[in-house]
Each structure stands twice: as structure tokens, then as C-alpha cells.
């Protein structure tokens, strides 16, 4: 039971990050039906930029929380710029092209981003400075750290903010209108290009924060970290129902929990034939199961086959 609670806590923590990244996928997909494979690499850039800033400030004797905040504050605009540029240069020219064309472009963008990061930050895994002192709190036999609490708290706050933005502001209304029917939204005076660019920018901002959190949590940053994380976040978005904001949040947390519990119990269940090194497989199995049995996801409304 203690293992269960412990893995639940770990799962929710990682799931919160998945949810933040999944939101980026789901918003972009909702509005232009593109699976932006390069979104994971934006997360990686966020982590990398934060790494450089923390590294540079580590000798200055500033309070750790302040340093991390500064680093995140620098990572967000860099990622936003990246998201904006990506949309402008690679995706906008292909807006009316067949869907596979833009997906292939997205893969290209992903490869380019990864290797630029490699050039800037080297091909070796970077030890992300653990400047925030970890404190543990006990819940029965399980423990939860201040970092985990912080991650869960911050992502809850940000996701609430995003929900307010999308459902309560003019920009949010414009985004929803464009997602529903872009030409009609255009007739109502909404500048689709602007709205789509803003979607990319907001998604990239979330990605930056997620990147800092995940790198700080695992203590490591690497130029390929975005690929795997992005893939899992995409699985989370599909699990919740792609294009659906609450779905992405739910899917992210659920996927994190499934993964953590799976990794915690697979050894016992299979008599140690399979170990926790198969952890990465769960996300894909979830993805395939969802797509086969409930393609619209948990919260998504049934959309007809638009292919």
C-alpha cells in the first residue's frame, strides 16, 4: 500500500508535467489539426536555456528560488520565440497542404531543433544544478518532497490560468472560434494567422515551464530529452481526447500515474521477467489501446473521420 501511495505521488508529479506539455499539443491540434512533433523539443530548449542561466548565476550567491525563477523567466520568451518562428517559417506555408506534408515538416523541425541544441549545449547529458534544497514530508510511509509539491502546485496554477484565458478572454474566444471553423471565424473579423501564432506562442510558454520543471526533477538535461517526453505528452493528449483542454490535463495526470504504477508493479506481476526498464513502453500501449477502442479519447467528443 505504501508503494502504491508513493508511486501515486510520483505519478501525479510527472503527470503534471505531461499535462503541461500535452496542452501545447492539444491546442495546436485543435486549431490547425497538426501534430506538432517538434513541441517536445521546445520543452528541451526551455530546460537547456534554464540550465545555462542557472549555471551562470550559481556563483552569485542569490537565493536559489530566485535563480530558478529568473531562469524560467528567460526560458519562456526564448521558447515563445521558437514557437512563433516555427509556425511562421515551417507550418504557415503548408497550412492548406495535405496533412502528411505538415507532419513531415514537423519531424524535420524537430530534428533541426535537436541538433542546434546539440551544437550549443554539447551531446553529453548535462547535470541540471539541484540548487533547491529538497525537504521531504511524510504521508504514512510514503514521502512527498517540496519540489514535487511545487511542481504540482505551479502546474495547477498555470493550467487554471490557461483555462481562464481560453474560456474567459477575447483571445480565447477567437481561438475557440478558429478551431471550430476557421473561414467563418475569419468572416467575423478574426485574424486567423494571429490567433494561430498566439496558440503556438502560448503552447511554447507552457513547454518552457514544463522543461524547467522536468529537468530540475530528474536532475538532467539532454538534447534528446524532448523527443521521448513529447511523445508521451502526445499520448496523454490523445488519451484525454485531442483538441480538448481539460482532456489533456486529465490525460497527462492519468498517464503519469499509469506509468508510475506500471513501473512499480510490473516486476511483481510478471515475476521479475519484465522490470521497470520497460516503463517507457506503457505510454505507447495506452496510446494504441485508446486509439483502437476509443479514438476520441476520454473527454473528446466523437469527431467523424476527417481524413
Amino acid at each position: 500500500m505504501d508503494i502504491f501511495i508513493q508511486q501515486l505521488i510520483n505519478g501525479i508529479t510527472v503527470g503534471a508535467v505531461y499535462a503541461m506539455v500535452a496542452l501545447g499539443y492539444t491546442m495546436v491540434f485543435g486549431i490547425i489539426q497538426l501534430i506538432n512533433v517538434a513541441h517536445g523539443d521546445v520543452v528541451m530548449f526551455g530546460a537547456m536555456v534554464a540550465f545555462s542561466i542557472i549555471h551562470a548565476l550559481s556563483g552569485a550567491g542569490l537565493p536559489p528560488l530566485f535563480v530558478v525563477t529568473i531562469a524560467t523567466a528567460c526560458a519562456i520568451p526564448v521558447c515563445m520565440l521558437l514557437g512563433f518562428a516555427m509556425e511562421r517559417v515551417a507550418y504557415r506555408p503548408l497550412r492548406n497542404a495535405p496533412r502528411l506534408a505538415s507532419l513531415i515538416t514537423a519531424i524535420g523541425v524537430s530534428i533541426i531543433l535537436q541538433h542546434f541544441a546539440l551544437i550549443i549545449w554539447s551531446r553529453n547529458p548535462l547535470a541540471f544544478p539541484q540548487i533547491i534544497a529538497v525537504e521531504s514530508f511524510h504521508i504514512g510511509e510514503a514521502t512527498i518532497t517540496n519540489v514535487q509539491l511545487g511542481m504540482i502546485g505551479i502546474s495547477t496554477l498555470i493550467m487554471t490560468g490557461l483555462a481562464l484565458l481560453v474560456y474567459r478572454t477575447r483571445l480565447g474566444a477567437a481561438m475557440r472560434a478558429t478551431a471550430q471553423n476557421a473561414p467563418i471565424a475569419g468572416l467575423m473579423g478574426i485574424d486567423a494567422n494571429h490567433v494561430i501564432a498566439m496558440t503556438f506562442v502560448i503552447g511554447a510558454g507552457l513547454a518552457a515551464i514544463a522543461g524547467v520543471m522536468v529537468a530540475n526533477y530528474y536532475g538532467i538535461a539532454h538534447y534528446t530529452m524532448g523527443a521521448n517526453l513529447g511523445l508521451k505528452a502526445f499520448c496523454a493528449a490523445v488519451l484525454g481526447g485531442i483538441g480538448n483542454l481539460p482532456g489533456a490535463m486529465l490525460g497527462g495526470v492519468l498517464l503519469g500515474v499509469v506509468e508510475a504504477l506500471g513501473a512499480g508493479y510490473i516486476g511483481d506481476l510478471t515475476n521479475n521477467v519484465f522490470g521497470s526498464n520497460y516503463q517507457d513502453v506503457f505510454a505507447f500501449i495506452v496510446l494504441i489501446l485508446v486509439l483502437v477502442f476509443r479514438p476520441s479519447g476520454l473527454l473528446g467528443e466523437r469527431v467523424g473521420d476527417r481524413a
Binding site: L100, L103, I104
Partner: protein, 359 residues
């Protein structure tokens, strides 16, 4: 392009010239160093892989991002059946078809649950599938040691007929045939067979069915095409080419590990198909040759150039190669979606693209 079919003599002369060029090519390359023959052999393997992927992506329009998994399946099948790892040493002409079949089986395994999905979902699932296969290759060393984990399998048998081994250098009629040169001829025969099969497939009932599905699945179904079966067939056939290529890769390298079958390799093969021109066999061959020579080309140009300019390596050629692949995908899609040598169908489609009427 001039139509050679109207000039049978010119047609056959052209084919003869190309044949002679292909036959003397390894000796020309060998004079520059055996390494170049190896690069050429690898290029031929990539041609086979690209043609296999072209069936899935180019003909049937199903984007497969985990294609390298089938290559891995073929390679591991060969390695397990012809190495000291299990003490099995079956002859290669037995294993290669088995490798092709096993890969086809994996193709069906992947295709069956996912083919109802829309194109872009399918792409992501295949991506996940490729990763799953790699994770299993990495971890199936316990409890029973099947794949030997990250260490991979070494001392894989080379191809041999009786006492004639493809790995040993030999002198025939006064000409020095090194191992790679012998493999070159074998690969050449196989790749010509593969190209021939592809050309026949494209104009067959199946090929036309694939094209119909690519253009409009609903209409294809209305025309009486069993879309699920035909799509599965595309997956299986594409996979089997990958499997056979994997077996040959295994034998030529003599060593394989999960490291050779990472996602980046899938992207590389995809870039070859895209650059050459999805759906056009000759375009794909061209794309594969161009991109497989890039690593060696960069090693001999960009490397020394940087040493000369800066005195040390600023950007490794390996990284530039990946950037090239990335830019190929983006630029081809944005500027010339049909590839450098578009297929006839696509050229027709793309012709009125000025008014945005793209298929």
C-alpha cells in the same frame, strides 16, 4: 525528358551503358579506397530500405515513422540464426526469406490494430512501435538471453556458398575482388530484383489499389477495394523489403546492436523517400544514393574545411548530416512537395498548384 521507348536502339544502348558503369563502378571506387565501396554497399542497402518505405508512404500514403523496426527485425533474425550466439549457422539463402517473412509478420502485427486510424495518428503509433521494438531489443537479455541487450550480437556469419565466402578477398581472372566488392555485386543483383518487383507492383492491380487509397480512401472503398487488406499488404510488403535489407546489413557488418536502429534512422530513410519523390521509384533510388553519400562527403569536405578555417572541429560532420536531413524534410515539403523527381501522378497534381488546388 526524351521518351526512349520510341527509340528502342537508344533505349537498349542506354541500359547497356548503365550496366557497364555499374559493373566497373566498384573497381573505380576501390581505387579511391575500399571504404568507398563500403559506402556504396550501404547506399544500396538504403535504396532497398527506401523502396520498402516507399511502398508504404509513397504508394499507399501511410506515413510510417518506425520503419527501421523492420530493418531491425530482419537484422536480428539473421544474427540469431547465423552466429555463435545460439550456435546456429543456417545458410543465408534460407535466412533472408525467413527474415523477410518475420518482418512482414511484424508489419501485419503493427498494421492490424492501427490501420483504421487516420493518417497522422498512424504515424505517431508507428513511431511508438519503432521505439517499443528498440526497447525490447535493449532489454530482452533477461531472463532468457535472446538479443544480448545493448552489447548486441557479434561474429555474425558472412554470406557464403559452400567454400565461397563473400567476406574473404579473392583474385578471379587476375582481378582483385575484395570482400566489399563481392558483396557489391550480390547487393546489386538483389537491388535490381527489388526495383524490378517495385516497378511491376506499381502498375499491378495492387499498386493501383494502393494509389487509389492514397488519393481517397472512401472512394477507393466505394470502388470495391478491400481497403483494410490492401493496406495490410502494403505494410507487410514494405516490411519484408526492410527485413531482407536488415539481414544483409547484419551479414555485411558482422555485428549489430540496438544502437543501429534508432528513430533517427527511420527519419533518415524517410528523408530519402521525400527528397527523391514519394511514389516515384527512380526518384527514391536517387534520393537514397544522394543522402547516403552525404556522411562520407561531409567527412571529407566539412571536416578538413573547419580544421583549416578554425584549427579545430567546430561542428562535427555527423551533426551537420542530421541538420541536412532535417532541412531536407522541411525545405522539400515547403518548396517542392513532390521531391526532386516527382512521380507522374504527383506532377499532374502539383501542376495547378498556383491557385492552391493541391491534392
Amino acid at each position: 525528358m526524351m521518351n526512349f521507348r520510341d527509340h528502342p536502339k537508344a533505349h537498349w544502348c542506354g541500359i547497356g551503358l548503365i550496366a557497364v558503369a555499374l559493373i566497373i563502378l566498384p573497381f573505380v571506387l576501390a581505387s579511391a579506397g575500399t571504404a568507398w565501396v563500403r559506402v556504396m554497399n550501404l547506399a544500396i542497402l538504403y535504396i532497398m530500405l527506401s523502396l520498402g518505405l516507399n511502398i508504404v508512404v509513397g504508394f499507399a500514403g501511410l506515413l510510417d515513422l518506425g520503419y527501421i523496426a523492420f530493418y531491425a527485425v530482419g537484422a536480428y533474425t539473421y544474427a540469431l540464426l547465423a552466429s555463435p550466439h545460439f550456435g546456429l549457422h543456417l545458410p543465408f539463402w534460407v535466412i533472408l526469406p525467413i527474415g523477410g517473412l518475420v518482418a512482414a509478420l511484424f508489419g501485419i502485427l503493427l498494421g492490424a490494430p492501427t490501420l483504421k486510424l487516420r493518417g497522422d495518428y498512424l504515424a505517431i503509433v508507428t513511431l511508438g512501435f519503432g521505439e517499443i521494438v528498440r526497447i525490447f531489443l535493449n532489454n530482452l537479455s533477461t531472463p532468457i538471453n535472446i538479443t544480448n541487450g545493448p552489447q548486441g550480437i557479434s561474429r555474425i556469419d558472412p554470406f557464403s556458398f559452400g567454400s565461397f565466402s563473400f567476406a574473404k578477398p579473392e583474385s578471379i581472372l587476375g582481378l582483385a575482388f575484395s570482400g566489399p566488392i563481392k558483396y557489391y555485386y550480390l547487393l546489386l543483383v538483389v537491388v535490381i530484383a527489388v526495383i524490378f518487383i517495385n516497378l511491376r507492383l506499381q502498375n499491378s492491380r495492387i499498386g493501383r489499389a494502393w494509389e487509389a487509397i492514397r488519393e481517397d480512401e472512401v472512394a477507393a472503398r466505394a470502388m470495391g477495394i478491400d481497403t483494410t487488406r490492401i493496406k495490410l499488404l502494403a505494410f507487410a510488403m514494405g516490411a519484408s523489403f526492410g527485413g531482407v535489407a536488415g539481414g544483409m546489413f547484419s551479414a555485411i557488418q558482422g555485428f549489430i546492436s540496438p544502437e543501429s536502429f534508432v528513430l533517427v534512422e527511420s527519419v533518415m530513410v524517410l528523408s530519402m523517400v521525400i527528397l527523391g519523390g514519394m511514389g516515384n521509384i527512380w526518384g527514391v533510388v536517387l534520393g537514397a544514393v544522394l543522402l547516403s553519400f552525404i556522411p562520407s562527403f561531409l567527412r571529407y569536405t566539412v571536416g578538413p574545411l573547419q580544421m583549416w578555417l578554425f584549427g579545430h572541429m567546430v561542428i562535427e560532420p555527423e551533426v551537420i548530416r542530421m541538420l541536412v536531413f532535417g532541412f531536407v524534410l522541411v525545405l522539400v515539403m515547403v518548396l517542392r512537395p513532390g521531391g526532386i523527381w516527382p512521380s507522374a501522378v504527383r506532377r499532374r497534381e502539383l501542376a495547378p498548384s498556383e491557385d492552391g488546388a493541391r491534392g
